[in-house]
């Protein structure tokens, strides 16, 4: 609301995700790879293995070209991207962590200088000095990770900072240590994976292949333990997502585990057992596994933080939690600095509100597109349900606007699709009822699933009994919108609910624990309390 909102054809968050995943992939390699290089060089020199030393030299060139250019510049890319997409959150982070970033910059500076010197001085520095430079590189790179890890984990688990506003509480927050352990383990795995890219073609091939596999195994041993520790320290609302309420989270967990296991199998088969099988396509597959592993991990980390970008401070749509009440009372037009129109009754204003409030995670079409999600909504229903957004999976920020704003955005959302007109017959009643259910109820309920199941309410009720209850929905709970669908759709919906709720099921659905919809409670698990 404070800043102009960069209007993109896709969710702004996707841009951050794209830049961040690529950067995290390479920057973790920059940490683990430095360790890999200096230890490999040490091994080669101890064993007087010229072939292994030559491998180190070639690998350092590849390492420098990838990490100094792509790794470093994409890191700056994250700065640029978050400033463009979430300026409010970026400003908040800068005001809390500018000195942490300044410290990180010192390590970054040393890291860059050491990397350049390391790969340029193979022929000019004595062995001992060259390895000293290598060790300096690794320590600086890992310290850089150490500092950034504090800022990243703060965004999800600010811990005691909420009360104290102390820098040290922000930095050494509940997930700092487990996240540092997990990221270090990932760095070691990636060092092994990237180690195959410069694998010698003939002499030394087997030794390097087994050595790189050993790195992957070592990282993979530590990773599950550190992740278990990490998940145990997550706040209650994040743990709920991980327990399987949301499909995307389940897929990400499976994807992350799958990519890691596949990478390990490849390392065992083509790295340890038959190094001659480690051909370029297999290496490419390994690199893809590494990218998949990072992508899944970063997706999870971002998702379990929803609806926040900085937990309890700034919502995912860059609205500060402290601003919401005021926005709901006075409206966006009195607060926002950069609106595209002054006419708050126009459709253009509604569209502007859509970009302001929803644009960081949603576009009209495509991934997380709103057009298909609001199909079947009329303007009145849309304006009403906007009051209950946090009930939808518990992952969305509250609507930060007044009634006039809700009407404007509701009208815009309704305009994305043609109004529904059905010719309902006995043959298609249930099918249309299912559509109406998805449009009107499915964002917050299932009938027989575990997401706020309705079976308990409607079991053995006739369609007409179900329909009778619709008129009282708004009065039943302050979290429910009024029901205003046309009669024919209401009948179809009632038939569908009655039919589904009366179906025999083997196990009656048990309501899953859902996150607190008002997002104001951040409860940490016992483990963190003990650590404190």
């Amino acid at each position: 609301m404070n800043y102009p909102q960069w209007q993109l054809a896709f969710p702004g968050g996707m841009l951050i995700a794209l830049v961040a995943v690529l950067h995290v992939f390479i920057s973790h390699f920059a940490v683990g790879g430095g360790f890999f290089l200096v230890l490999t060089e040490s091994l080669a020199r101890r064993q007087r293995d010229v072939v292994l030393l030559d491998y180190c030299r070639r690998h350092s060139r590849f390492f420098a070209l990838l990490t100094l250019v792509f790794g470093a510049i994409s890191g700056v890319g994250i700065w640029f991207t978050i400033g463009l997409v979430s300026p409010e959150a970026t400003s908040m982070l800068i005001h809390t962590f500018v000195w942490a970033w300044a410290i990180e910059w010192v390590f970054f500076f040393v890291e860059i200088a050491a990397a350049i010197l390391y790969y340029k001085t193979w022929d000019s520095l004595p062995a001992r000095d060259h390895m000293i430079v290598g060790w300096i590189y690794f320590v600086a790179a890992w310290m850089s990770l150490f500092v950034i890890n504090g800022i990243l984990t703060f965004m999800l688990t600010p811990g005691r900072w909420i009360e104290t506003h102390s820098f040290w509480d922000a930095m050494f927050n509940p997930t700092f240590l487990p996240s540092l352990a997990a990221r270090t383990a990932v760095s070691v795995i990636l060092a092994g994976i990237f180690g195959y890219i410069t694998l010698p073609r003939r002499e030394g091939r087997e030794k390097v292949a087994r050595w790189a596999a050993l790195w992957m195994m070592a990282g993979a041993l530590v990773l599950p333990l550190s992740l278990w520790w990490y998940f145990a320290c997550l706040p209650q609302f994040s743990q709920v997502y991980l327990n399987g309420v949301l499909i995307g989270v389940r897929h990400a967990v499976r994807g992350g585990v799958g990519f890691t296991l596949l990478a390990l199998v490849i390392a065992l088969v083509c790295g340890v057992w038959k190094p001659r099988w480690m051909r370029p396509p297999v290496v490419a597959l390994l690199v893809i596994c590494g990218l998949g592993m990072i992508g899944a991990g970063e997706y999870l980390r971002e998702f379990v933080r929803k609806p926040w970008v900085i937990s309890q401070v700034v919502y995912a749509n860059d609205v500060r939690a402290s601003q919401v009440e005021q926005l709901q009372a006075t409206g966006v037009s009195h607060t926002a600095n950069f609106l595209l129109t002054d006419d708050t009754t126009s459709m253009a204003y509604g569209e502007n509100l859509f970009h302001l409030q929803c644009g960081s995670c949603h576009a009209v079409g495509g991934y997380r597109g709103m057009k298909r999600r609001v199909d079947g909504w009329d303007a009145e229903f849309a304006a009403d349900i906007l009051q209950h957004i946090p009930m939808m999976h518990g992952t969305m920020p509250p609507y930060a606007g007044n009634e006039e704003d809700r009407k404007a955005l509701g009208s815009y959302l309704a305009s994305l699709n043609q109004p529904w007109h059905f010719n309902i017959t006995d043959g298609n009643r249930l099918e249309i009822g299912a559509k109406v259910f998805e449009a009107r109820c499915g964002h917050c309920h299932t009938v027989n699933g575990n997401f706020r199941p309705l079976r308990g309410v409607f079991e053995n009720e006739t369609p007409s009994q179900v329909q009778d209850m619709f008129s009282a929905l708004g009065a039943m709970s302050s979290n429910m919108p009024n029901f205003n669908a046309p009669d024919d759709q209401a009948q179809a919906l009632a038939s569908y609910i009655s039919h589904e709720a009366s179906k025999p099921v083997s196990v009656k659905p048990a309501p899953a624990a859902l996150p607190n919809a008002n997002h104001s409670q951040l409860t940490y698990p016992a483990l963190w309390q003990e650590v404190r």
């Binding site: 404070n2 102009p4 960069w6 800068i94 500018v98 942490a100 860059i112 350049i116 595209l340």
Partner: protein, 375 residues
């Protein structure tokens, strides 16, 4: 005419004294410019001498192009590294202005990232291919330089746009998708040319200094380098005066008048003029003799002083531009004393570590930049 919309400053206090952030910003930005001028100015010098050196009668040019080729990626690495620090500190002081203007030119601003990568890889390719005489090395370097010139143009657009909030709302309403440039500001073109020409001038001063050192190893080559770079330095500095005047005429009158009316700005401006004239005289006098004298070193030092004074002047003009909208003195401050102390200690430790590594290299008897990259 649209209303002037300016984002509020962050509700959290600034975590350190404003003077400290200002001092750090001025120092790291000066260093960033020195590295950037070396990358851009050095790239232009390298291309010119590479093309010239392809004919056998210009062996010095070929030698210079090869030497610069090995240095260019390092210059760019430090341009980025030092630029990150400047970006960090400027966000603390002027974040609400910088974020807003960056969003308005969002597409081009973000394009800086892939563009830097292209330029950087181009420099690496040139460093690898120049000595081998690969045919397309010059083309690749030319592309890298065009990209860097493009990046400089985007930067000048953003840095001028952040000073003009009165243009923001109209621009945002015209193109909320980030496809904007600040071409309505008459100072963009002279400021851009001033920066680009300045980078050639400053790098020429650096080359003159390097030439003095080369004279100890290869007298002919060193002398050639000193005299040639002194000439380019003098021409570019002369041109810089004209561009500077154009820039002063292009910025709003009340801002330009700050240089005359405000004692601090006026003093810095006066000192900058004195230092640049001294730099020019010292480098010219030092290089004209049959055997260039150490006046060249003094000229080089004065050109660095000029750079720092120009950075200070830029900061004072920025404050003058933003005077109606921002007051750094009124910012709430709550210094994070412990972390600041830790940063300062680590900063000294970091410099010492880099110094130690350079000492290791120097002790080994060879300079790293002239060492061929491992094959």
């Amino acid at each position: 005419m649209h209303t002037i919309a300016i984002p509020h400053v962050d509700p959290l206090p600034v975590p350190g004294p404003v003077w400290l952030f200002t001092a750090l910003l001025l120092v790291v930005f000066t260093l960033h410019l020195a590295a950037m001028n070396s990358a851009l100015g050095g790239g232009i010098w390298a291309l010119w001498n590479y093309l010239r050196g392809r004919h056998s009668d210009h062996p010095y040019s070929r030698q210079l192009a090869n030497e610069l080729a090995a240095m260019l990626p390092t210059f760019l690495a430090f341009t980025v590294t030092l630029g990150v620090a400047a970006l960090l500190f400027v966000q603390v002081l002027f974040g609400n202005f910088l974020y807003a203007s960056s969003i308005l030119i969002g597409v081009l601003w973000l394009a800086v990232i892939p563009l830097v990568m292209v330029a950087y890889y181009g420099f690496y390719y040139f460093s690898y291919a120049a000595e081998k005489g690969k045919g397309i090395a010059g083309c690749v370097l030319a592309i890298s330089l065009c990209v860097l010139l493009g990046i400089a143009f985007i930067y000048v657009n953003n840095m001028t746009l952040m000073l003009g909030p009165e243009r923001w709302l109209g621009m945002y309403r015209a193109h909320p998708n980030g496809w904007n440039l600040n071409l309505g500001d008459h100072s963009v073109v002279p400021r851009y040319l001033h920066m680009v020409n300045g980078s050639i001038a400053l790098f020429s001063a650096i080359l003159a200094m390097l030439g003095m050192r080369k004279m100890k190893v290869n007298a002919g080559y060193g002398r050639w380098l000193v005299q040639r770079s002194a000439l380019v330095f003098a021409v570019c500095t002369g041109l810089q005066f004209l561009l500077g005047m154009w820039l002063l005429l292009a910025i709003p009158r009340q801002i330009a008048m700050v240089l005359l009316r405000e004692p601090l700005a006026g003093s810095v401006f006066g000192l900058a003029l004195v230092s640049v004239i001294s730099a020019m005289l010292l480098i010219l006098l030092g290089s004209l003799a049959e055997k260039p004298s150490s006046l060249v070193y003094a000229g080089f030092a004065m050109s660095l002083v000029t750079l720092f004074l120009m950075v200070c002047l830029r900061h004072l003009l920025r404050l003058a531009y933003l005077k109606p909208y921002a007051n750094l003195g009124a910012l709430a401050v709550r210094p994070q004393v412990g972390v600041i102390t830790l940063f300062l200690l680590l900063f000294v430790g970091g410099l010492a570590t880099v110094g130690y590594m350079l000492w290791l290299v120097a002790r080994s008897g060879r300079t790293p930049v002239s060492t061929a990259t491992p094959q």
